[in-house]
């Protein structure tokens, strides 16, 4: 309960023109988080994908990369439901990437060293494998979605993506102090929609006094 009340204060800080009742209406029916669907890739396919996204956003001194942030899970879940129609094309792309790696480097993509993987991806980026150009762009786009989207979709674990780019976080009301250029907004790191998120906590007491 203590944690909840801190959350409430943070949400409402400075939002003097937004009545509590309005926020309460927004919270009235928090959506239940969708259960994770069955995986849409087999282990080998997932290995290729993880190797790919690990080179797009590697783990380094700035923090976790795409793999650690759950981007693979994000993409896998997309292909299982929202992007189901795209799944065959996507899996073809993974297979074609392996074919291209074998042809140019003699080894399957996931088994290459990071440098060699970069060489393969650079060649694709420079349009030396026209059949993989669209796939490359698609994976890059989905990687951004998984890295910087709401964690409820499986990516952006521990808000590491938002920490990386200093996105202050989704919340329900924002006061003038959080729109200032002089002082950076304080990071707000609480899931809005997942289980235990503030939309789901149902702990709206009556005595907030803000």
């Amino acid at each position: 309960m203590k944690d909840t009340s801190i959350t409430r204060r943070t949400v409402l800080a400075g939002a003097t023109l937004v009545p509590l009742a309005a926020i309460r209406r927004a919270e009235a029916q928090s959506p239940a988080p969708a259960p994770a669907p069955a995986p849409s890739m087999n282990t080998d396919q997932r290995k290729i994908l993880d190797a790919f996204i690990d080179r797009l956003i590697p783990k380094d001194e700035l923090g976790p990369g795409a793999v650690e942030c759950g981007v693979g899970d994000y993409i896998d879940r997309c292909l299982a439901d929202y992007l189901a129609a795209e799944k065959p094309l996507f899996l073809d792309g993974l297979a074609n990437l392996d074919v291209f790696a074998l042809r140019t480097q003699g080894v399957a993509f996931a088994s290459l060293t990071a440098d060699k993987q970069d060489a393969v991806l650079t060649a694709i980026d420079n349009n030396q494998a026209p059949n993989l150009r669209g796939f490359f762009n698609r994976v890059r786009r989905l990687t951004l979605e998984g890295m910087f989207g709401d964690p409820v979709y499986g990516g952006n674990k521990n808000f590491a993506g938002w920490d990386l780019i200093r996105y202050p976080g989704a919340k329900l009301a924002v006061g003038p102090e959080d729109q200032s250029m002089k002082t950076p907004p304080k990071p707000f790191r609480k899931e809005l929609f997942g289980a235990g998120g503030i939309m789901a906590d149902g702990h709206m007491g009556e005595n907030h006094g803000h």
Partner: protein, 568 residues
């Protein structure tokens, strides 16, 4: 067989931004209105602070109709048109006014007289080749009282620049004269909006704050804006965005004269042998109904208005409703609007939060606000910078030649710069052309087997030139604001599907060159009124919704005053 329902006075097809305001004067006058809406009501709890839900997946809609009827697009008549990837509209009570940016502009007086003003100032040869532009059959002054009514009925925040000829440099000094100040001051000033206003002044421009149909202060029992940054393509979780679903529609319901039928998928408008409309046929939960009415108001999105008319063939109208002169679908305008100019700044802009309509606008390079002699184009573009940047969109930033697009170097670049860049939104005055029209796609069909709308949009010269001219000015603005990199990526192709789609059933004085009269009623079927962007004659250098709403209110008042002659 369709079930015949009890006749009503007026049946409305589509209860969105346009009919959502029109129903208020009608029901206040005691007219019984039944509104057929393909979507349903949405509640504050349906709206999420979630970029994937709103912007990536475009889930702010009810039902799937909007996804089943996405128009197709091609750039010349010899091509096969391809269906768009995502809808430009949504289905719900309140329609797209639920998830729009809510930038609420009046068009400029020049927009209503593009042809005559251009000929007067620059000669007839200055009219762009192939353009079918005409003057509107009404002037800014004719529409001014209705702009005022809408601004006060729904609630618009802003700062007037011209009250009865008295110019206030804090507002839009280029706007047409208005009778009074906005009902609310502009949305919150921030360091960013102050910085961009100061920079515009430094560049010699006349900046002002965006007008927004969003409460900047509590109004009519609803909250002020919460500035949480999920307004664009999302609904308002505190009901501070003045969609018709929280303003005029509930007010019309209070009269007791408005019946709303949710999940009603209208398939045809029927007519008698004399060309009078008799009502609307619709499917609801798998059952077919016919709603007879004395007057039909067709009020869906531009693509759907045109499609409905072309689908509604009858003995009186073998080529589609009110289309015996072949004008339905002609004079369509896809609004030429882009973010061509992007700037990188040496400081965090902190524009994550706020609303898209929390912006700064420069109008010096729009309309006929500058001398076009020798420039080779007419019109121009408004330039807007704004708050509300989402993290996925921010990370998809250009790297200005300073970093690759992936890998550790990219990661370092975005970690520093994702919050330090922005684009200037340039909205051009856009005209109708012979090579640009709407019709029915010969192959792609919706779930009921009806063809979807097809857009044919040929090449243009005037709009890209106007846009390029404005881009130079945006570059100056960004440099004055301290940008360390500015890049311009010209868009010479214009829009395919547009969220600012206008024309297609344009208004005019003659049936030979327009579909509806100056009040929005069809030349060929006088008890058919058309509300929405499809009646616009030109597209201003700004968002169209307020103009659409002012026209809709005007049509409704006209109907009330002339009830006997129109409905009789």
């Amino acid at each position: 067989m369709a079930t015949n329902l009890k006749p009503v006075d007026v049946v409305v097809v589509g209860l969105g931004a346009a009919a959502g305001v029109a129903v208020l004067p009608l029901t206040r006058a005691g007219i019984k209105v039944t509104a057929l809406e393909a979507g349903s009501w949405m509640q504050p709890s349906d709206f999420k602070a979630d970029e994937i839900h709103n912007n990536v997946r475009r889930r702010v809609t009810t039902g799937t109709k909007v996804w089943d009827e996405i128009p197709t697009f091609r750039t010349s008549p010899d091509q096969r048109a391809r269906q768009g990837a995502a809808p430009t509209m949504m289905n719900a009570v309140g329609g797209t006014s639920i998830h729009y940016y809510a930038n609420s502009w009046r068009f400029h007086p020049w927009d209503f007289k593009v042809r005559s003003e251009t000929v007067r100032r620059y000669g007839a040869s200055a009219i762009p080749e192939g353009s079918t532009v005409e003057d509107w059959p009404l002037t800014y002054d004719d529409l001014e009282p209705f702009y005022d009514t809408i601004e006060y009925e729904i609630g618009v925040s802003g700062k007037a620049g011209n009250i009865k000829g008295w110019i206030d440099p804090k507002g839009n000094v280029f706007e047409g004269p208005r009778r009074r100040e906005y009902p609310m001051p502009p949305l919150r000033d921030t360091d960013f909006t102050n910085m961009m206003q100061a920079a515009a002044h430094k560049a010699g421009f006349n900046p002002h704050r965006s007008p927004a149909a969003i409460n900047s202060q509590p109004r009519n029992g609803r909250s002020a804006c919460a500035y949480h940054g999920y307004c664009d393509t999302g609904g308002c979780h505190v009901q501070a965005k003045n969609s018709t679903a929280v303003t005029t529609i509930p007010a019309a319901q209070k009269t007791g004269n408005l019946t709303i039928v949710e999940r009603a998928h209208v398939t045809r408008i029927l007519t008698d042998d004399n060309g009078k409309t008799t009502g609307a046929l619709y499917v609801r939960d798998g059952q077919e109904f016919f709603q007879p009415a004395k007057v039909v108001l067709l009020a869906s999105y531009t693509y759907e208005n045109v499609r409905m008319m072309l689908l509604s063939k009858s003995k009186a109208f073998p080529n589609g409703l009110a289309n015996n002169h072949g004008q339905v679908g002609k004079h369509y305008i896809g609004h030429w609007a882009n973010r061509e100019v992007t700037g990188l700044f040496p400081v965090d802009l902190n524009i994550w939060y706020g609303a898209n309509a929390q912006g700064v606008v420069v109008n010096n390079w729009a309309e006929d606000n500058f001398d076009h002699s020798g420039l080779g184009f007419i019109g121009g573009a408004s330039l807007t910078v704004n708050h509300e940047v989402h993290p996925i969109a921010a990370s998809a930033m250009p790297t200005f030649g300073r970093a690759p697009q992936w890998g550790s170097k990219w990661k370092k670049f975005v970690s520093q710069n994702a919050g330090r860049w922005l684009g200037a939104y340039a909205q051009c005055n856009s005209l109708p052309y012979e090579n640009t029209w709407l019709d029915l796609d010969p192959e792609v069909k919706d779930k009921l087997g009806d063809p979807v709308c097809r857009i044919t949009s040929g090449p243009k010269v005037n709009e890209p030139r106007a846009s390029a001219h404005a881009a130079k000015k945006a570059e100056e603005w960004f440099r004055a604001a301290g940008a360390i990199e500015v890049i311009t990526v010209p868009n010479t192709e214009g829009p395919n599907l547009s969220t600012h789609a206008t024309g297609g059933t344009r208004m005019g004085l003659k049936a030979e060159s327009s579909v509806v009269d100056p009040y929005g009623f069809a030349h060929e079927s006088p008890n058919l009124g058309i509300l929405g962007g499809s009646t616009l004659v030109t597209h201003g250098a700004r968002n169209p919704t307020l103009t659409i709403q002012a026209l809709a209110w005007r049509s409704a008042e006209h109907l009330v005053k002339n009830w006997k002659s129109i409905a009789g």
